[in-house]
Each structure stands twice: as C-alpha cells, then as structure tokens.
Amino acid sequence: MEKDGLELEITELRLGLPGRDLTEKIMKKRGFMEMIMTSSGSNSEQCESGTVSSGVDVEKVNDMPAGKTQVVGWPPVCSYRRKNSCKEVSTTKVGLGYVKVSMDGIPYLRKMDLGSSQGYDDLAFALDKLFHGIGVALKDGDNCEYVTIYEDKDGDWMLAGDVPWVMFIESCKRLRIMKRSDATGFGLQPRGVDE
C-alpha cells in the first residue's frame, strides 16, 4: 500500500498491550494522552495524569500537570443534557461556576454563573435580577427580610459575605435565599437591633 507522503512523525507515545508485536507497522494512534497534550484552542482542556488503562504501556505520562480532564465532546452526552445535569457544577474553574440557587417560597430552582460576578455586590445584584427585585441581603446588618446562605465544599451551610470573594466562589456549591427569621444559627442579629 502506498504511503504517499504520509510522513507521520513517530508518535511520542506508543500505546501497546504487553506481549504485542511492536515490529508491526508503527502505530499511528493518536492516543488519548497525546491528543490532550497536543490539542490546543479547544475549550476547557486541562491535562490529567494517570487515566491510563491497566495493562497498557505508556511513556511520558508523568509530564502531565494535575487537574480534571475535559476532552471536548466526551463523554458523548448532548449539550442540552450536559447543561441540565446538576453534576456539571464545577467549583474548580471560575467561569464554569454554575450553582443552583433556591429561594424560600419559590417552587423552582435557578442556576447562575458565579464566575460572572465580580464581588458580593455584583452577586447581590445578580440574585436580585434572578428573583425579580426581592431585595436580597448579603451582609449582616442590612435591613432586609432575606439572607443568603451557601453550601460549601464540605457540605456545611454558611452565611454568604463573611469570607473573601475568591474563597467564596471556590467553595460555594449552591446558594439559598432564606427568610432572615428562619436563619437561626448563623449568628445574625435580629432585624433592626443595633449592635
């Protein structure tokens, strides 16, 4: 079979099963790992070390930086389903930080992108828009009927506004807007009481 100018560079990674005859034609496989290392310009691609199936000899695996692999279009789940899958909430990357927001008394959940807000004031404004001007409070001391709490990485519910913004968006998994009167245990002063 003519190769016809297919001067393929020998791939750095040669994936082969143990015991395979490697004197066969050079495998031009663009392995999963190589693809991650050489592809560029696609969204959200970070390299991962160690997703190598057992029984396969692979070189140069350890050169990969740690992080979650996001291969474009894999797994093959359609984008509509991806958007609606709540497990798509990523807390490792700003900009992909969609969190669910629930509000007491409202029967449906909303989702918002934390990465699109610059700070707590921005967040308050965005939440306000989401729930149409309820006047959401974010800091203790504001005279408002509602407070915002969030569930952090450890599963604990904390009052929003106490920690620095960057720390907040990294650990926030979901938001809940609840009535100030129901929010016991967060160390809030009752409404209207001076400190």
Binding site: L6, R30, F32, M35, S53, Q70, E88
Partner: protein, 575 residues
C-alpha cells in the same frame, strides 16, 4: 401495470408510507415515478445540503409534510463550531413562494430564527405541526408568532432546543377561540411561564394528549392542569422545591388518579423524591418513563417507582439506579424494548453506579429488548458475550465506556471479542456505537457480520487503516459513519471512492486524514461535498499553501446533487 388507471395506482401507493419503500417504487418505471412524485405527502431529507428547496419542489410539488436534518450528529457533542450551517430560512422562503400547502415541519439540528418562524406562521394556512429537535437560534418571540398565526395548530413540540427565553407572553398569544391543541411540549424553556395563560389554554384544549412542562411550573399548578386534562396520555412534569406542603401533594395525587389514559411520563428536573410516589397509581399503565433528568432522585426512590411499572416498553434513566436497580427493571419490566442509561457524573469521577452486571441482568430479564444506550465505567468481554447470547434481537446497540481506551477490566484485553459477539449474534443490527480498548480486530468482525449496519460511531479505537477498511468493505448498508480520535487515514479514506455513493455522510475528526488526501477524494468524487472544518485557522490552511501532508482536524463529507453550498462560514473549506 399500465392497465390500471393512474388513480388506482395512486390509491395503491397510499398504502406505501415508508420513505424507503416510496423511493423504491418510484424507480420501477417512468409512469410510477410520475404518479409517485405527485402523490408523495411526506418528504424526508436526512441532510439538508444534499438537495435544495427548488429541486425538492420540482420533484414533489404536492407534499404536506417535510422533515429536514441539518448538522451532523457529532454536533450534539460540541464538535461542530457555531455557525457551521443548517439554516432553515432558505427552505421556508422557497416553500412560502411556492404553492405547497405545508402542514407539518420537523427539523433536527437546524438553525431556526424568529424570522423563519414568523414567515412559517404566515405562509401556510393549514399549518398543523411543528416539531423542533436540538435546534437553536430562535426565541420565545418566534413561538409567539406561531401561537398567534397558526389557526389550525395541532402540535408544538420543542425537544431539547436552545431557545432564548424572553419571558414574553407567548402562551397568551394563542387566540381564545383556539381549541385544537394536541401536543404542547415546552420543557426546554428556561424562563418563567405564564401559569394563568397555560391553564386557560389547557382548559380549552379537549384534544390535548401530550403536555410537557418546563421547570417553572410548580406542583399546585401541575395538579390544576392535570385536573383539567384528565385525558392526557403523555406528561412531562416540571420541577419542584424540596419542601412541599402535603395539601398540594394530595391534590396532585387526586388529579393523577383521574388520568387513566396516562402512558408516558417524563421531566422531573430537580424533583423531590416524595412527589414521585404520587405517580404510583398510574405506573401500571405506563409504557414510557423518562427519568433521565431527575438527578436529585436517588436509586431507591427510582426503584420504588419502577417496581410498579410492569408494562414499561421504554425506559430512560440515570446510572444512579445502579446494578441493583437494573436487576429490578429486569425482573419487573418484561415488556421492555428500549433502555437508555445516562451518566450522572460527566467528569468520570470513578462512581461505579452501573457496571457490566447491570447490562447482563437486563439482557437476561427482558426478552423484547431491541435498543440500548448504556453509559458505564467498565465492561468485560464475558459480559458482552453473555448479552449477545441473551439478546440476539438488538437493532440498536450503543455502549459508552466513559474512559477512552479502557480494556476488559478483568482480563485487560481489548473488547474486540465482546463486540464481535454482539455483531455476530444480532443479525438485524442497524446502529452500533463502540467504546473501550479496541483494535482493528473488532472492525474485522463488524465488517464480516454486521451486514445490516447503517450507522456506526467510533471513538478512540483501532490501530491502522485496516480497521476502517474492514468496515467500508464489509458493511454494504452503511449510511452514516462517524469517527473521532482514531488512527485512520488517507489510505482508508481513498480506497473505495464509490462507497460514498451509497453512504449519506462520513465524519472524521482528530484522525490521520491529511489535506492532500481530502483534496484527492474531492477530485475523484465530484458528487461529494468534502468539508474541512478548521475553526482555529479560518482558512489559513489554504492561504499559506500548506503541504498536502497537513493533518485535517475535522472532515465532514456528504453526497449531494446540488454541489457546494453557498452558506458556509469562513472556517469551513469545501474542497
């Protein structure tokens, strides 16, 4: 056959409804060709660029229903850049100018604008049915036009579209006198819904059979809707907050009990588990259950529901059901024909909710199973061989092992033998998706045994061009072949150019095909559009006079009778 008057022949043709059959009878003789083309009611165009509206109208002047598909299948997985094509506007414009009495339009993976919808709504007096699947480019304003202007609308079915929700009053645009609604599916709308308008619409639609709601329809509204539409057959439920008062639940239960015609249940985006139990009374009649968006409901609640669903024929579920849950399905749902198990964790976090055991259980318990889509973490050849023995009737078999290149987790061998067993046993297999560690051997099996195969999806598989050649040479009925990240190159691509006469399309991305190879193919096969999609380069490939050896990132080729399309964006280069 010429001793029958044309009307008689035409009447006989009325009983022939499938597109394939009608295409066949039109080839018998000139007389039949003529009769058939004037009497064709439903036209199906699997690739909107294979033909143009003018030629369509010339061939079939009297059709009433049109189905059009645009983007290639891999567009679902974000592999086709935005703006690639698939615009419906020129079609609607051409049809509007003609005298076609369009009644039904079904679009899949196309770009639809508000302008298109407005034009559609104004141009066809008897327009009855609009079905949009995985489309984009329009907003609720377009829906408002349809609602306002289509006096005889029966179906408005929006499935998994990207719709810009302007939170307008599109539901209120249905005129008060309008009562002919049969299908209303707006589950994919993100925004709020005018509940009053919705309830009034449902109340005045005695023929309503299918109602699929979006997230924003709360529990008490659902109860009221079901109370005024007890004739409902197909229901898509919205979403609920966790805390619901028991009075709302009771009202819902009472309403559900009256819906004795209910056969199909879906939705449950972010639903609370205890609401699921409200549906237990109707479960014994259900034939279709789609809980694949109900990520909030854990396995045990799902199982409790499914235990009641003895007549289920189609089940779409998340892998949170687990192998144990699938065993319950296997022992309960003896009528099951189609199963889809979707992944909950899309980032491959090592959650082993379903394994090969679940698949084997289903294959053993459900003798009527013919279609499966199964996402899992691991698989073995032994399991697949058992599945093949249990279920030789598969028509569609799609297995997705989440980690690319993953071998048999017990033997560390490739999964060639497992898939080989499937294709050998399942003589009617029309659609196949393979995954896991696979060598050229699996393609040898596919080429040898999968004689009826029409669609094949390959990802991260194979070793050499031989693999692809086995498939191209062996699968005589292949229509759609889509390949990503596999080491197939020009040799395979160019081996048998005439193969691309009988195939609708071929997609190859991140493979080994080169620009030179694609150019040569385009030369040899003038009936093809060979598209090179290079979103990062914007045709720099051509300008810089790249050597033919440059690998092509994405190639999509398809047969066409109308040559190069004129609406290709700059990043698409048609050779």
């Amino acid at each position: 056959m010429n001793y029958f008057p044309d009307e008689v022949v035409e009447h006989v043709f009325d009983f022939v409804t499938s597109h394939k059959d009608r295409n066949s009878i039109s080839l018998v003789c000139k007389s039949w060709f003529k009769i058939e083309r004037y009497s064709r009611q439903n036209v199906f165009i699997g690739n909107c660029y294979s033909i143009n509206p003018e030629r369509l109208l010339r061939r079939f002047p009297c059709f009433k229903s049109l189905t059009l598909k645009g983007k290639p299948h891999f567009a679902d997985f974000n592999l086709v850049p935005h703006g690639w094509g698939g615009f419906v506007q020129p079609w609607i414009e051409a049809l509007a100018r003609s005298r076609v009495g369009l009644e039904e339009l079904r679009l899949k993976r196309m770009v639809v604008t508000d302008e298109s919808l407005e034009l559609l709504s104004r141009s066809f007096v008897n327009f009855k049915s609009l079905v949009l699947v995985s489309c984009e480019g329009f907003s609720t304003d377009g829906l408002a036009s349809i609602a306002s202007n289509c006096r005889h609308l029966r179906d408005l079915d929006l499935q998994e579209n990207e719709i810009d929700d302007h939170r307008g009053q599109w539901l209120s645009c249905f005129p008060e006198a309008y009562t002919s609604l049969v299908t209303l599916n707006f589950a994919c709308l993100e925004g709020e819904t005018n509940l009053v308008a919705l309830e009034r619409l449902v109340a005045r639609s005695p023929n309503l059979r299918s109602l699929k709601l979006n997230r924003a329809v709360p529990l008490d509204a659902l109860a009221r809707l079901m109370a005024c539409a007890p004739q409902i057959v197909d229901l898509g439920v919205g979403s609920y907050e966790d805390e619901q008062d028991s009075e709302s639940c009771l009202k819902l239960q009472a309403a559900i009990r009256k819906c004795t015609s209910l056969r199909s249940l879906s939705g449950f985006l972010e639903a609370a588990p205890h609401c699921l139990s409200a549906f237990h009374p109707v479960c014994h009649n259900l034939t279709y259950l789609n809980l694949s968006y109900a990520a909030e409901i854990n396995g045990s609640h799902l199982i409790r529901l499914i235990e009641h669903c003895k007549k289920l024929q189609r089940l779409w579920i998340l892998d949170s059901i687990g192998d144990k849950g699938l065993e319950v399905v296997a022992s309960t749902c003896k009528e099951l024909q189609e199963l889809r198990v979707f992944p909950t964790d899309l980032q491959g976090g090592g959650n082993t909710a379903v394994t090969e055991d679940g698949l084997v259980a289903i294959s053993a318990g459900c003798p009527k199973l013919h279609s499966i889509l199964y996402f899992c973490q691991q698989m073995t050849n032994a399991a697949l061989i058992t599945v093949a023995k249990n279920c030789p009737n598969f028509i569609r078999f799609r297995l997705c092992i989440l980690e690319p290149h993953k071998p048999d987790h017990v033997t560390s061998q490739p999964l060639d033998e497992g898939f080989g067993a499937i294709v050998q046993a399942c003589k009617n297999l029309k659609r196949l998706s393979v995954s896991g560690l696979l060598t050229d051997q699996v393609f040898l099996y596919i080429g040898m045994f999968a004689t009826q195969l029409e669609m094949l999806s390959i990802a991260f598989a194979g070793d050499t061009d031989k693999g692809m050649l086995y498939v191209l040479n062996g699968c005589k009925k292949m229509r759609k072949l889509e390949i990503r990240d596999s080491p197939f190159g020009d040799t395979a691509l160019l081996a048998d150019v005439n193969k691309y006469v009988t195939m609708r399309s071929l997609w190859m991305s991140s493979c080994e095909v080169t620009l030179g190879g694609c150019k040569r193919l385009a030369q040899k096969a003038p009936w093809l559009n060979v598209e090179i999609i290079n979103e990062n380069d914007n045709n720099r490939m051509e300008e810089n006079g790249y050597e033919g050896r440059q690998k092509v990132d994405k190639m999509y080729l398809y047969r066409t009778v109308v040559g190069t399309r004129v609406d290709a964006p700059p990043f698409v280069w048609i050779l």
